[in-house]
């Protein structure tokens, strides 16, 4: 069995770009000045010193208005004097070359008395361009807050923290990525979130080994329990209100700088089918909508496989009144049902993909051209039956009702194995494929917690906010799956009591 064994290549540490190893100060300055946007200014009005910084990272207004006036108008002998006179915090005096290298590339200004002396004062002055906070697009809701995360971690933390103004709200920060050194924040409420969950999250993020991490979706894939599963194992949300709400349940959130999304976990599969808007509606409405969504998922996954299975193997199952219509529409089609279904499913996927890659105005045209023109033409040309066209279109529509984008992608993908099994074994095949998926889900975990939790292992108490959403007065305990340190959300008695004005 020599073919199957591959000798593991020795992992090569790429040290060429990392700041590890010995580096002297002149070498560092040589590297820095190689960039066109690095500037070193010699100031010699009353006393002489050197100011070096990246013009593209530092706010020039800050340098001229808030830094230079303070240090040029008074005679200053050494760096300690400068540090005393500057009305700023976060300054560091160091002669560590690595520290200087890290800080200068992160937007600090280096002040030296002597050009070749490694001792310098580092003054923070990072200026970043931020997008305005806009309305959520992938998780839009009609009622409720209209704020979405932006690409700045600090702004995002501000959006969450103002919703949870308590000292227990804790942010742990880690830097990830050899090149990108992305700031990643692990957020939880101390005293509610289970320590084990928090430690798992921190450890997983710490263990990330990659050169650049540009988005939280990288982290989502890197830290998920099973990388090969098509099912997302952490919820990806752009709503600060949703993050605040799950944090108070005892979950952990992970955010990366430069990413307008937060990851929350441990999560369960039912959570992927609940939109945050469910909490803004009356519980009866929200529950019905959740059930409709769940049926839409089943329909989306199973409808075209069932069509193939029934038409290929089980003609006995077709309702009497539908039989004539079905046979009539199938009569002229040269393909067997499976080819017909795969061609249609793929063309819907094509349309979707084309729509997603094109600017939104052109995207609409694609929808109309694809949906109406190709659809009608395909039926008239006798390539597909119109019954299947309806089924496939409805299934595609149903797959879009899933509120979490990643999950709706998974659902679209999931019907293809079902289709193949339906073609080979009919309804039995559909059942076998279902068994495969259920057993996969049973094995899946999210941050070490069972993925299909309130259903299996059954947590009857957690069902109050799973397939249906019970009223707020009954949501008196946090989900037991998360092992919260503080189980009770509120006093149930006081929550259910309705006071009249006389009381």
């Amino acid at each position: 069995m020599i073919f199957f064994k591959k000798k593991k290549k020795k992992q090569q540490e790429s040290n060429s770009v990392s700041t590890k190893g010995s580096l002297t100060f002149p070498e560092l300055m040589k590297k820095l000045t190689a960039s066109a946007d690095f500037s070193t200014v010699k100031q010699s009005s009353l006393s002489t010193f050197y100011i070096s910084y990246y013009k593209t990272l530092v706010n020039p207004e800050f340098v001229h208005r808030d830094l230079l006036p303070y240090i040029t108008e008074i005679p200053l002998k050494n760096l300690d004097d400068i540090q005393k006179h500057l009305p700023l915090d976060g300054m560091v005096k160091t002669n560590d070359v690595h520290d200087i290298a890290n800080k200068v590339t992160a937007g600090f200004i280096l002040i030296q008395m002597n050009k070749d002396d490694p001792e310098g004062l580092l003054v923070p002055s990072l200026s970043t361009e931020n997008r305005q906070i806009s309305i959520p697009e992938t998780e839009f809701s009609v009622v409720g807050p209209k704020e979405a995360f932006v690409e700045s971690l600090d702004t995002n933390l501000n959006l969450i923290r103002k919703r949870l103004p308590i000292p227990e709200f804790t942010v742990k920060e880690v830097r990830v990525g050899k090149l990108s050194k992305t700031r990643v924040a692990i957020i939880y409420i101390d005293g509610i979130a289970d320590e084990e969950n928090v430690n798992t999250a921190i450890q997983r993020v710490n263990d990330i080994e990659y050169d650049h991490v540009v988005d939280s979706s990288y982290i989502n894939q890197m830290i998920s329990d099973n990388e090969n599963s098509p099912f997302p194992q952490l919820i990806d949300t752009e709503r600060p209100d949703r993050v605040a709400s799950v944090l108070s349940e005892g979950k952990v959130a992970i955010m990366a700088d430069g990413s307008p999304h937060a990851l929350t976990g441990p999560t369960t599969i039912v959570e992927f089918f609940s939109a945050f808007e469910d909490y803004f509606l009356n519980w009866t409405l929200a529950s019905v909508i959740r059930l409709i969504r769940l049926m839409a998922v089943m329909f989306s996954v199973l409808s075209s496989p069932l069509y193939v299975a029934v038409l290929t193997f089980h003609y006995e199952m077709i309702p009497e009144n539908l039989l004539a219509t079905l046979v009539a529409s199938r009569n002229d089609i040269p393909f067997p049902p499976i080819l017909e279904a795969i061609v249609l499913e793929l063309s819907i996927e094509l349309l979707r993909e084309a729509g997603a890659r094109l600017p939104s105005k052109v995207g609409q045209t694609i929808g109309i051209v694809g949906g109406i023109v190709i659809g009608t033409a395909a039926v008239q040309a006798g390539l597909t039956s119109n019954v299947l066209l309806i089924i496939v279109a409805l299934a595609a529509l149903a797959s879009f009702t899933t509120p979490v984008y990643q999950m709706s992608n998974t659902i679209r993908l999931l019907r293809f194995p079902f289709l193949l099994f339906a073609q080979f074994l009919g309804l039995l095949g559909v059942a076998i494929c279902f068994a495969f998926i259920v057993s996969h889900l049973l094995k899946l975990t999210s941050l070490g917690r069972p993925y299909i939790a309130p259903l299996y292992p059954l947590r009857a108490n957690d069902l109050k906010d799973a397939l249906i959403r019970m009223p707020f007065s009954m949501q008196n305990s946090r989900p037991s799956l998360l092992r919260p340190q503080d189980k009770a959300r509120m006093n149930k008695k006081r929550a259910t009591a309705k006071h009249d004005i006389e009381d």
């Binding site: 069995m1 199957f4 038409l311 290929t312 193997f313 003609y315 006995e316 077709i318 009497e320 039989l323 004539a324 219509t325 079905l326 046979v327 009539a328 529409s329 199938r330 009569n331 002229d332 089609i333 067997p336 049902p337 080979f424 074994l425 009919g426």
Partner: protein, 359 residues
């Protein structure tokens, strides 16, 4: 590990031979009705009706009949196959018809091949035809697209109101069960209509008698609770009125089953006067008279039907089975011997609870 993987792949390749054969809907000829006609003592003519869908959704399907005469019905199918463009599939069979001459000889062997077929449902309708099933199936009926659809709807709605419920499951249950005998609807082709003319009474699998449509309604009252149907009663001086059954219930009481049995059957009918020309139904005292008149008329007729069943030694109601279920150490032989002479008293209790919205 690698060996295991190879083994799995190898097994999967071998297993591809085990895939079930495909029966794609439009590539098979679905038989929707079969009719069996009497040819000679050993030979049966099998008529299979197929509905051939036409191009386009608005055009109704055309029905065609394939005919073959053989000794066994499966062989007949093979002969018919010889002139069909697509293979026959019997899984969508909706109704099986038996010619009355054939039914008098016994139909079990023909039903047996249907019951063995795994692709057939248990809700298949069966009926006995006065006359040839071939001409009945060949006719185009203006009332429905195909004869099979016509028959299906016809039996479906009549079994709710006029005739006892019966499909292949009921037939076999009553055929195999002790102390009961099957019944089947009796139909007839009249011009371009098909008419339910009554109920065929079977002893085992042989037709031994029949009841008219009005009597079938009364038989249904004796057999099962139901909520439909109309009965006409004669009132004094040539006045007639009709009672619509709103809810009927039947109760059986057995006495002294082991030695000299006797049976009391109580039928409770809650009804509505649906038509009563020249009778002022809003009068409460009159209602009571109408109730009495109905009870007397029904009692008289039902007792006649029961006598007829006893005389033919058919237990269509299933009294033997009912008696067995209530008696420890029940002896079928004793019961069967005595059945024709058992005093069976039927008592109908009619309650008129409505006389229409004008009352």
């Amino acid at each position: 590990m690698a060996k295991k993987k190879l083994l799995i792949i190898f097994t999967l390749i071998l297993l591809t031979g085990c895939f079930p054969s495909k029966k794609i809907l439009e590539d098979v000829q679905l038989v929707s009705a079969v009719g069996y006609d009497y040819k000679s003592n050993n030979q049966v003519e099998l008529n299979g009706m197929v509905a051939i869908p036409q191009r386009g959704e608005d055009i109704p399907p055309i029905s065609q009949v394939f005919t073959a005469t053989t000794n066994t019905s499966k062989m007949a199918r093979a002969l018919e196959q010889a002139e069909s463009p697509k293979p026959f599939e019997i899984g969508r069979l909706e109704i099986a018809l038996y010619n009355n001459r054939l039914a008098e000889k016994g139909i079990y062997d023909l039903v047996d091949t249907l019951q063995r077929d795994p692709s057939l449902g248990r809700d298949l309708y069966m009926a006995i035809v006065n006359g040839s099933t071939k001409t009945l199936l060949k006719q185009q009926y203006p009332l429905s697209e195909t004869p099979s659809k016509y028959l299906l709807q016809l039996l479906d709605q009549n079994m709710k109101a006029n005739i006892p419920k019966s499909n292949i499951h009921d037939f076999l249950y009553r055929y195999y069960g002790k102390g009961m005998d099957p019944n089947l609807p009796l139909i007839e082709k009249q011009g371009d209509r098909i008419r339910v003319v009554g109920t065929a009474l079977l002893k085992d699998d042989k037709m031994v008698g029949q009841l008219k449509l009005e009597d079938s309604f009364l038989l249904k009252l004796l057999m099962e609770p139901f909520e439909k149907g109309i009965y006409e009663v004669k009132f004094k001086n040539n006045q007639f009125f009709t009672i619509q059954n709103l809810k009927s219930k039947v109760e059986y009481r057995f006495k002294d089953v082991k030695r000299s049995p006797s049976v009391d059957i109580f039928v409770h009918v809650k009804g509505r006067v649906s038509e009563a020309p020249k009778i002022p139904v809003s009068d409460p005292s009159l209602i009571e008279q109408l109730e009495r008149a109905t009870e007397i008329a029904m009692n008289k007729r039902i007792n006649k039907i029961v006598k007829k069943l006893q005389k033919a030694k058919v237990d269509t109601i299933g009294l033997g089975d009912l008696a067995r279920s209530r008696t420890r150490g029940f002896d079928f032989k004793h019961w069967d011997d005595q059945y024709p002479d058992i005093p069976i008293n039927v008592k109908v209790n009619v309650e008129i609870i409505q006389a229409g919205i004008t009352e």
